[in-house]
């Protein structure tokens, strides 16, 4: 049996998404202003959601879908809350 293309495409995709999360983490740690950090966190949760979906294909299980849905829901709520907190102007340094 020939080795399937998915057996190297999925680890490659996982590696790329983890690298993307590392780049977001660098921006999160060094972002000059608070809105940069919130934007990096927003990007980080989108990447984490994609990671969960790819892991679901990798293990052939539909249960990872629920984790991805949960990450999307909580990420939206937290990003909106933090953006609203910045908009009220209580954290002007």
């Amino acid at each position: 049996m020939t080795p399937s293309m998915l057996s190297w495409a999925l680890p490659g995709a996982l590696f790329l998404i983890v690298a993307a999360m590392v780049l977001c983490l660098v921006r999160l740690l060094k972002g000059p202003a608070a809105q940069d950090r919130v934007l990096a966190l927003d990007c980080l949760y989108l990447n984490g959601m994609l990671l969960m979906l790819v892991l679901g294909i990798y293990y052939g299980s539909v249960h990872y879908f629920e984790a991805a849905m949960l990450i999307a829901l909580l990420g939206f709520a937290s990003s909106t809350a933090m953006a609203k907190f910045l908009l009220r102007g209580e954290v002007i340094e």
């Binding site: 399937s4 989108l46 879908f65 939206f76 990003s79 953006a83």
Partner: protein
């Protein structure tokens, strides 16, 4: 991983879609890291919420529709949810960034709706 007896077309299509999605996610994050100002940076992650998310969602939908039983449209739910919520978050973040830039005296376009909402009156 149990992907041994998949049809060839599914193997190739799912691989290409997942690789495209991961590569686009990497590019979006690279843009987030590399661009100079905040107002350039805020554009980069939008490609993750659109192209990368839809590529990976289509790969998931295709894979589980062929491997599992029946049509697996549950992945569509995530993509629709992200397509609805990410613009809301981005608009909030942009308004917060403009507000803070005006407060700190940076050179940004002035507020046009001065007698409008609460945020407009605070400026």
């Amino acid at each position: 991983m149990n992907a041994q007896n998949l049809p060839l077309w599914l193997d190739i299509t799912v691989s290409l879609l997942v690789l495209a999605g991961a590569g686009i996610a990497f590019l979006g994050s690279l843009g987030l890291l590399r661009l100079k100002t905040y107002f350039e940076r805020v554009h980069a992650p939008a490609i993750i919420a659109t192209m990368a998310c839809w590529c990976v969602m289509h790969a998931t939908l295709l894979y589980f529709s062929v491997v599992g039983e029946g049509l697996a449209v549950h992945a569509l739910l995530i993509a629709l949810f992200v397509a609805i919520t990410v613009p809301v978050t981005n608009v909030f973040l942009m308004r917060a960034a403009l507000f803070r830039a005006r407060r700190m005296g940076h050179k940004v376009p002035p507020n046009l709706s001065r007698a409008g909402s609460d945020e407009a009156r605070e400026l």
